[in-house]
């Protein structure tokens, strides 16, 4: 086992070990939380080292076990997966810090269970990011659904359970109902499921079959929240905020779009899709999702729900990037995975901080809150800018590439959608910022300050990252380029 | 019960005869129709007749259920044991040919043994089943 293979294995195992330790230390909160942070830190270091290796050209590969004849659980690291793993692990570290402040500040119950499942979810995310074939991807994708279910229903209320059922039903229903048969079909058609540059389907199937399989995959990957299989995401907002922040802004949803991009590029292959023309519809579906979700977001008063719909719309940016089948657009998609993650997590952190400090969940209650919580709302403003896609934030970088891709491939529709979406984004984010800073506080507003230090520190950090990515986009950009180069 | 007196006397004569006939059937099975199973049934019917006339409780004294249970099990064991004996003497399971010096003799011995096993099990099974059924009334009456 070479060094990078060891890192690959470590990325999967570290969170699991962490989870076990968290359970073991369950009776001593300080130790437990310390272990949580330590695990996250170790994972971040491991993944960063892995990313370095990947950038240096290493492509570690690890076969865990052969599940069935010719069907194995195998892992490998390539630039896109590395990007995703990097985002998830670094943001987990930040979230771990944030969560301590949030969970203690909010007096949540069953914290041990919460942290343990959180760690397990991360392991599953790593499995998705580093999977070497479709079946591994599918397996960890399902595992991610399963181990986030207890997090979604954490509060145990009837509402939470109802939401949990939607969450579960949509995600498992689509994946078992559509994705699994598509995978089986591909296996029967090609005799293998390993991701390969240029795709594995070329030469094996008729264009009609390609079209059918592509539809099954796209909607089978419910985590990408493409309309009409987006319902689970707003439902999942009943979860505690760290869950919404890391899992439903980063890990789970990105696992979805990541899977879409990965399958598009490494299973179907750009050339095959381009020549068979069976992916053109996706641009329209994704475009529709962007606009429709943005419009719905506009009318949401619950802050987290607004963020959720914003996520749905932003995810489709990534899907549309993949659907354009153009190198620049693919780079944009890859970058947007990063950009959206750090910005959206900032926003969720801010929403959580508001809940903890001011006990407010509605947009209409936020007048003047920026004076009480300047750091939080400042970070929120930066995150909003990134969502809209304005400089100097990360969102600008990725959108720029998407736009370039659209122009280069002559997709007028995409350009129009992007422009319209920018306006819509601005319309539902900037008023919040405006109200927070420039409206007066309502009379008799409760006295409160900032959220706990851990929480505020975390959201400041992520907002700083958002800005940093604008000025120093080298790392994600290098990964994106390497990915596109490999995908050809 | 006096009105059964004649019956009882006749039965007392008949029952040994039936048992004897059972044994005849048992051993004549090689040459004519019959064998362990039929013999077992006939033997059991002798007991059943006895039980019908003298009552299950008396019959149980003659053939205690515990004893019947044992013979019930022993019959199968005799049968299966014959098979093991064949194994021990180097043959296949239930290969009677190895049981004696020459094959035909062995077969004969084996067949007799297993027929005896069948006889034991069948007769005790039939007796058991009948006693249990007929005993229902008696047992309930004791409640």
């Amino acid at each position: 086992m070479t060094g990078s293979e060891a890192l690959l294995a470590a990325a999967l195992v570290v969170p699991l070990v962490g989870a076990a330790l968290i359970v073991a230390a369950g009776r001593r909160p300080n130790l437990r939380d310390g272990i949580g942070i330590a695990t996250a830190a170790v994972l971040a270091v491991v993944v960063i080292a892995l990313v370095r290796d990947v950038l240096a050209g290493a492509r570690p590969r690890l076969v865990l076990v052969e599940m069935l004849p010719n069907l194995s659980l195998a892992f490998s690291a390539e630039p896109l997966g590395a990007t995703f793993a990097l985002v998830a692990s670094v943001l987990w570290l930040v979230t771990a810090i944030y969560a301590i402040g949030y969970m203690r500040g909010h007096h949540e119950h069953h914290q041990t269970r919460f942290y343990a499942f959180f760690a397990v979810s991360l392991s599953a995310t790593m499995g998705v990011a580093l999977s070497a074939n479709v079946i591994t991807l599918f397996t960890f994708y399902e595992a991610l659904t399963l181990c986030t279910y207890p997090l979604v229903t954490h509060h145990g209320t009837d509402e939470a359970k109802r939401a949990g059922r939607v969450y579960f039903g949509v995600l498992l229903g689509t994946s078992i109902g559509l994705q699994l048969p598509a995978i089986a079909a591909i296996y029967v058609l090609t005799g293998g499921l390993d991701f390969a540059p240029g795709g594995i389907l070329a030469g094996h199937v008729s264009p009609a079959a390609v079209a059918v399989l592509f539809v099954m995959f796209i909607f089978g990957i419910g985590k990408a929240a493409l309309m009409p299989v987006h319902r689970w995401l707003p439902a999942a907002m009943v979860a505690p905020t760290p869950v919404s922040a890391l899992l439903h802004a980063v890990a789970v949803v990105k696992a979805g779009v990541f899977a879409v991009v990965k399958v598009t590029v490494f299973v179907f292959g750009i050339d095959l899709l381009r020549s068979s023309g069976s992916s053109g519809w996706l641009i329209y579906v994704a475009g529709f999702t962007i606009l429709a979700a943005s419009t719905i977001a506009l009318f949401q008063d619950n802050l987290k729900r607004r963020l959720a719909y914003s996520t749905i719309s932003q995810l489709s940016y990534i899907v549309i990037g993949a659907a354009m089948l153009h190198p620049l657009a693919l780079q944009g998609a890859s970058l947007h995975i990063v950009a959206h993650a750090i910005a959206k997590i900032t926003l969720f952190f801010a929403a959580g901080a508001i809940l903890v400090a001011a006990d407010k969940t509605r947009v209409s209650e936020l007048d003047g809150i920026g004076r009480r919580m300047p750091w939080t709302m400042g970070a929120f403003a930066i995150g909003s800018l990134s969502m809209v896609g304005l400089p100097p934030t990360a969102g600008f970088v990725s959108k720029w590439f998407l736009l370039q891709g659209a122009v280069a491939s002559g997709q007028v529709v995409v350009i129009a959608v992007l422009v319209a979406a920018t306006l819509l984004n601005a319309a539902y984010f900037l008023p919040i910022v405006y109200a927070a800073f420039f409206r007066p506080l309502p009379d008799g507003a409760a006295q409160h300050g900032e959220a706990p230090l851990a929480s505020v520190g975390a959201l400041v950090l992520t907002s700083a990252l958002t800005v940093a990515m604008f000025f120093f986009p080298e790392l994600p950009l290098a990964l994106a380029r390497a990915f596109v180069a490999e995908g050809q | 019960m006096n009105r059964f007196a004649i019956l009882r006397v006749v039965a007392k004569l008949l029952i040994p005869a039936i048992m004897l006939f059972a044994l005849y059937v048992q051993f004549h099975g090689d040459f004519g129709p019959g064998g362990g199973f039929q013999a077992g049934v006939i033997f059991a019917s002798a007991f059943i007749l006895y039980a019908l006339l003298f009552g299950v409780v008396t019959a149980r004294k003659v053939a205690p259920p515990r004893l019947i249970n044992t013979t019930l099990a022993l019959g199968v064991l005799v049968y299966a044991g014959t098979g093991f004996a064949a194994l021990l003497r180097g043959g296949q399971y239930l290969d009677y040919s190895v049981l004696a010096h020459d094959a035909v003799h062995g077969q004969h011995l084996g067949i007799s043994l297993i027929e005896f096993g069948v006889f034991m099990t069948v007769s005790s099974a039939m007796i058991t089943i009948f006693f249990v059924f007929a005993g229902q009334d008696v047992d309930e009456g004791q409640d």
């Binding site: - | 040459f31 004519g32 129709p33 199973f37 069948v122 089943i129 249990v132 059924f133 229902q136």
Partner: protein
């Protein structure tokens, strides 16, 4: 019956089987069901024995000078099957007695009614 030609014998057996089968599935009394089952099985036994019969044959007990014997194998099989049948019957009757003790009836519909009402 021997004199009847061809397949008639089998057809008769089929009719018997079906009468038994009908009693099993259509009748409500448990004891009657069991005896219907018995008829069904006996009919099957007759079917086996019929197929073993050979014209002008004689019972397969070897004697000098008798050239044609009836096929012994069906007899053997049916001997076994009869035993299995009586075993099943005994067990079924035992169950019927227990059911009667537990439910106070041996009619299927009354049992169904008693089951639906869990008191």
């Amino acid at each position: 019956m021997m004199l009847l030609p061809g397949l008639f014998n089998y057809w008769l057996v089929v009719v018997l089987m079906m009468i038994g089968f009908y009693v099993v599935i259509a009748q409500g009394n448990l004891v009657k069901k069991l005896f219907g089952l018995n008829i069904f099985q006996v009919a099957v036994f007759v079917f086996y024995i019929s197929m073993g019969k050979i014209e002008d044959g004689t019972a397969p007990i070897l004697v000098d000078g008798e050239p044609v014997y009836t096929n012994p194998l069906p007899s053997v099989l049916i001997l076994t099957a009869i035993v299995v049948g009586i075993a099943t019957l005994a067990l079924g009757l035992a169950l019927a007695v227990r059911i009667r003790n537990a439910f106070g009836t041996m009619e299927e519909d009354e049992i169904d009614a008693a089951e639906a009402d869990p008191s």
